[in-house]
């Protein structure tokens, strides 16, 4: 994994170096924590304008739904930062002078750095719809967005959510938790169509309808109408239909939040361009998390990865690189997860939305229509490419290993018992799946039995 770059060439190494991180999200905070573990002398500062302390962005929806308060979403207690000598600055950076190595802040004194880490996160997309600036129309990304949503929906009778992805479903679920009827506009013919194969997409849509989401497929937003006071009163679709509503959630994806560094010496494209070590074109300036864009994307990976896990891994890797000999970013097999109302989703490896020969797929769905499993593999040598699981928990380690070791789909299916991660006393479906596979592919596989247990051992859970 090591290569020829030495830490000394890679970044400033002086004792007590000032490392400044803009962004206290998962990427910035993970990096700071790991830096502190390996460099006890460095002065580490984390700046963010959003909230004073790190909180879990992924938990925003639960605050709105009353499952948690903001305090509950902080992964570390407030004393943690001082104890680890991570200085927090709550404020917005307005500009960066890369020459003088200095940051200007909106309210505080300028801050100087030796090493600058940009972990700026994302921003919700807005596609210039007429009326998108009206009150009651918004995306959901930041804590401030959440507060706004809270206020805007306090006196709302109907809501519209635009966009067929993960944040869209979350917004729909949030609004419904407050008993607001939701119309969900999806431009494509199916929910999250560019990621999910048809069956999975349908499974999710069935479940959304079960939750009384008024799902409108192939429906595009054209404009938003003003009620005369600057508030939204309706949306108009491309086909001219007017849907009255007092709140519109725009969840049509996010883009790297790079306004701060636009028109500077820093090279950007969609995001801040970085090499495989997260170095930008300016020495001692690095970028990680949602805002970074790989110059050369890794095989089978996007050039901008905007999920929690990648932010974390970027932070871990960069912290290593700033304190050891730099290594290339090398995430293991892809994984992700989400929850659509009550149905959990996990994915390991690469499952595309469509595929062609020689790629083949095995799909099994429980009669309830709420549990499903898909394996995508090479039809010739049966090598597993990836799996999707719905309403079913699977062990990450199991698939991480299976994918790295190039296991075949059949090796995985006969051992699936070991991968099940559902709570105790849940019905197990691995045998049913295997039978379905046998039927579909004319095989005769039997589940690989672990060493047979005696009655007593089984009883005692040995």
């Amino acid at each position: 994994m090591k290569d020829s770059v030495h830490t000394g060439d890679f970044c400033i190494l002086t004792k007590g170096r000032r490392i400044v991180i803009i962004g206290n999200g998962i990427a910035g905070v993970t990096c700071a924590r790991h830096l502190r573990k390996r460099d006890s002398e460095a002065q580490i500062t984390i700046i963010s304008g959003e909230t004073e302390h790190f909180f879990s962005r992924t938990a925003l929806m639960y605050i709105y739904m009353g499952h948690m308060k903001y305090e509950h979403t902080k992964p570390y207690e407030d004393w943690f930062w001082e104890k680890n000598r991570l200085q927090l600055v709550h404020g917005w950076v307005t500009s960066i002078d890369f020459g003088k190595k200095e940051l200007q802040l909106q309210q505080q004194e300028p801050i100087k750095y030796d090493i600058l880490i940009l972990a700026l996160g994302s921003k919700p997309n807005m596609f210039g719809w007429p009326g998108q600036e009206l009150q009651g129309v918004q995306g959901l990304y930041s804590y401030q967005d959440l507060q706004k949503m809270n206020e805007s929906t306090a006196s709302c009778q109907r809501a519209v959510v635009v966009g067929g992805g993960l944040i869209g479903v979350e917004m729909a679920e949030m609004l419904l938790s407050r008993k607001l009827p939701v119309t969900f506009l999806v431009r494509e013919a199916g929910f999250w169509e560019h990621v999910l194969p048809k069956e999975e997409s349908e499974l999710v849509m069935r479940h959304m309808r079960e939750h009384h989401v008024d799902l409108r497929l192939q429906t595009e937003l054209k404009e938003l109408l003003d009620d005369g006071t600057g508030r939204v009163r309706a949306v108009v679709t491309a086909s001219g239909e007017e849907i009255p509503c007092q709140f519109v959630g725009l969840a049509v994806g996010v883009r790297p939040n790079i306004e701060l560094v636009r028109n500077t010496a820093l090279e950007i494209n969609r995001g801040i361009l970085v090499n495989e070590h997260f170095a930008t074109n300016i020495p001692n300036v690095f970028a990680i998390g949602d805002c970074a864009e790989y110059r050369v994307p890794l095989p089978n990976r996007q050039s901008v990865e905007q999920v929690w896990y990648t932010g974390r891994m970027h932070g871990e890797t960069l912290a290593h690189n700033l304190t050891h000999e730099p290594v290339k970013y090398n995430p293991g097999p892809w994984f992700n997860s989400a929850k659509f109302f009550d149905i959990e989703y996990q994915t390991y490896g690469m499952v595309p939305n469509t595929w062609e020969e020689p790629v083949a797929s095995f799909y099994w769905e429980h009669e309830s229509g709420k549990i499903a499993f898909r394996a995508v593999f090479n039809g010739t040598d049966k090598r597993l490419h990836g799996v999707n699981a719905f309403g079913l928990r699977l062990r990450h380690e199991f698939f991480d290993r299976a994918l790295k070791e190039n296991r075949t789909v059949e090796e995985v299916l006969v051992k699936l018992q070991e991968a099940l991660f559902d709570p105790e006393f849940y019905a197990k479906h691995n045998y049913e799946m295997l039978q379905a596979y046998n039927r579909q592919f004319g095989t005769n596989l039997e589940p690989e039995k672990k060493k047979k247990k005696g009655m007593l051992a089984a009883l005692l859970g040995l």
Partner: protein
């Protein structure tokens, strides 16, 4: 649906109101024969003289009656103490017994009707409210609005409820004479089960059991589709109804000691106190069996079951305190304090209490075998103080009264010496752990928030570390509420159970220690 629930809530509140109003109803009139029948022979004469002004007098409430009674008795005792006549002091607490026999009128004459209008109506109302819940909704846990609820989030309703519970517990433990009217209601049930009148403890047992059953039904609704929760709830309902409520009463009917076969020392703190041991030894072979059974539970069952299944086999599947916490206490589970500081306080409380009760018990047993030559009767003082401070004030008043204030496991977490003992085994010698699923944690905090024991589950999950904690009662709620399928309660080989050097799956660039 909504109307039915509204009616249910109305019924419940009406029943609660009536129940409380009962305390101010009825008359109290103590006759001489009633008194003579209810007290020890040697006290009859004294009390006849001392209580002369009270006998035959009509009081309009138990409060007035008890006040008078206590003042006469206190005056008498004071006199004896002053003249050093210690053996003439009346130590027995007759206030409850006499108030009970003295009661007349409305409540006494309408026991069944009033039972129906209070306890039964309340339970029925609660069920009317609970059963239609989530009807027509897909399976899945709905924690919506919990943080906005005044009841569940330490609002006015929650604090008032806490205050009410604390008050009721104080009456129950220290002023039972004020709640005789409540015990009258369950007299018929007590007669049917054990053949005797209801004490305040029988009343308590009845309501406690009913609370577990009714709120257990709520658990069935709330966690439908989640087999672990359903089975666990069914288990605590079963153990409470049979082991803790019916069987002991039937034993009494058969003239045997009241005994709960699943209550284990040191939770059952007086198991080895002289009076308990004497009562068991005096009850023939069944009594002998009880003594041996109790000892086996402590020395064999606890270590063996805890080794195989973890603390949960007892705390969230069998125990009565756990049973109430897991059913009636479920709406308050998120109120537990998750801070590191609280964890410190927990350890500085629960283990000293274990040491303390173990010490008292050893002294008591040593004293017993040296035929009281060692410490004479002075262990009694220790017993009384432990019973007052820990047995009553902590386990009862704080344990349940603080549900709406500090969560449903205050006693189990900070006070219960049995939980401390089982916890030590779970921590150091058990196959139980909560496994975390690779790198899937998104640090959302649902697991920590809903941990009733105040364990910061997320701290472990987000660094890929198995959760092996003495306090974990294995309720499984963290795994149920986790939106990413990160947590799983498992029994497995001891090897690799404690992951001191956790590595999160997913990043192959570096092997970082989280």
């Amino acid at each position: 649906m909504k109307t039915l629930q509204g009616i249910g809530l109305g019924m419940f509140l009406l029943a609660l109101l009536t129940f409380n109003a009962l305390l101010f109803m009825g008359r109290f009139e103590l006759s001489e024969p009633e008194m003579a029948q209810s007290v020890k022979q040697e006290h009859v004469e004294v009390l006849r003289q001392e209580l002369q002004p009270m006998l035959g007098k009509t009081y309009s409430s138990s409060f007035a009656f008890a006040t008078d009674f206590n003042s006469y008795l206190d005056a008498y005792n004071e006199k004896q103490k002053n003249s050093q006549q210690w053996d003439r002091v009346i130590w027995d607490d007759y206030a409850f017994t006499l108030a009970k026999v003295a009661s007349e009128g409305f409540v006494k004459n309408n026991k069944l009707l009033l039972l129906l209008l209070t306890v039964v109506l309340g339970a029925a109302g609660a069920l009317f409210y609970i059963l239609p819940k989530y009807k027509g909704e897909p399976e899945g846990i709905k924690n919506n609005g919990i943080m906005f609820s005044s009841n569940k989030s330490r609002g006015v309703v929650g604090i008032s409820l806490g205050a009410y519970l604390i008050l009721v517990y104080m009456l129950l433990y220290w002023f039972p004479e004020y709640i005789v009217n409540w015990t009258l209601l369950v007299d018929p049930l007590s007669h049917a089960l054990s053949g005797g009148p209801a004490s305040q403890w029988f009343l308590y047992g009845t309501i406690y059991t009913l609370a577990i059953l009714v709120m257990g039904v709520r658990m069935f609704r709330r966690y439908r589709g989640n087999n672990y929760q359903l089975l666990r709830t069914a288990s605590v309902m079963f153990f409470q109804l049979s082991f803790a409520f019916l069987i002991p009463e039937v034993l009494v009917l058969l003239n045997k000691p009241w005994y709960d076969f699943k209550n284990i020392w040191p939770l059952d703190y007086d198991f080895f106190f002289e009076y308990s041991v004497a009562s068991m030894l005096g009850s023939g072979s069944l009594g002998m069996f009880m003594l041996i059974w109790g000892i086996l539970l402590i020395l064999v069952a606890v270590p063996v079951f805890t080794y195989f299944y973890g603390k949960r086999w007892y705390c969230s599947w069998v125990c009565g305190c756990g049973g109430l916490a897991e059913t009636a206490g479920d709406p308050y589970r998120h109120l537990s304090d998750k801070s590191l500081k609280a964890w410190k306080v927990e350890r500085w409380m629960v283990y000293p209490i274990l040491v303390f009760i173990t010490g008292i018990t050893i002294l008591t047993i040593a004293n017993y075998f040296t035929e009281f030559a060692l410490l004479r009767q002075s262990t009694d003082v220790l017993h009384q103080w432990y019973g007052f401070l820990i047995g009553a004030a902590f386990a009862g008043v704080v344990g349940v009264g603080f549900y709406p204030l500090m969560g449903n496991r205050v006693w189990c977490r900070f006070g219960c010496p049995l939980a401390a003992y089982i916890g030590l085994i779970q921590r150091f010698k058990s196959r139980f752990r909560i496994t975390t699923n690779g790198g899937q944690c998104i640090s959302c905090g649902n697991c920590s928030t809903y941990c009733e024991m105040g364990i910061d589950v997320r701290w472990y999950a987000q660094r890929g570390q198995n959760i092996v904690r003495a306090s974990c009662v294995g309720c499984g709620i963290c795994a149920s509420v986790c939106p990413r399928g990160v947590l799983k309660l498992e029994n497995g080989p001891e090897q690799g159970r404690i992951t001191d050097i956790p590595v999160l799956t997913g990043n192959d660039s570096v092997k970082v220690l989280s």
